[in-house]
Amino acid sequence: MIGIVIVSHSPLIAEGVKDLASEMTQGRVKIIPAGGVDDSPAIGTNAERIYQALLEASNPEGVLVLADLGSAVLSTQAAIEMLPEADQKRILLSNAPLVEGAVIAAAQASIGNDLEAVNAAAEAASTMNKLQ
């Protein structure tokens, strides 16, 4: 079962997306939030915090990272570079929209899809028509 890390500028968004995505998994998937700069509600991202989340979510089948935008992506890339090279290969930074992508990724991960399949499903979330 892959792990999932949620990166957001807002600690509340990261926690909230984790809570929503966890509703999909029956507790089968480890989802770690990495929002904000420090333990304050301040808005921003922190590569060290994301790095710790990557370690916490780490497992042999890999970790999918979903980020909101801008420096969340840059900080995640910096965090991935802090890992030993061998471990970097098991981390995939997704281009998926954060909320929809996390929900779909969590559901697909919960049925044992591999890292690439989960990412493909999450990225396809951007094609979803929600006004149906």
Partner: protein, 92 residues
Amino acid sequence: MSAATTEIEVRHAAGLHLRPAALFLQTAGAYEADIRVRNVTRDTPFKNAKSMLDVMSLAVKQGHLIELKAEGEDAAEAIEALQELINSNFGE
């Protein structure tokens, strides 16, 4: 290789979205069989029952009729389990 099909009404207030959709996916995902589902009420084509995006794209609302079909060794068991999940109103 065996095959099984059934039609069933979804009575859950949320239809086949989010939590019910995920439970549906997890039930389908527990079987080897290839499982397809379509929304009869909306007359959609069959979609992959093991894809959250596919399942949600069927836009199954309360009272809609869905059709399930499975192919594979455990097709009958898979259909039975999905039927049971839906009939139990997703355990609620």
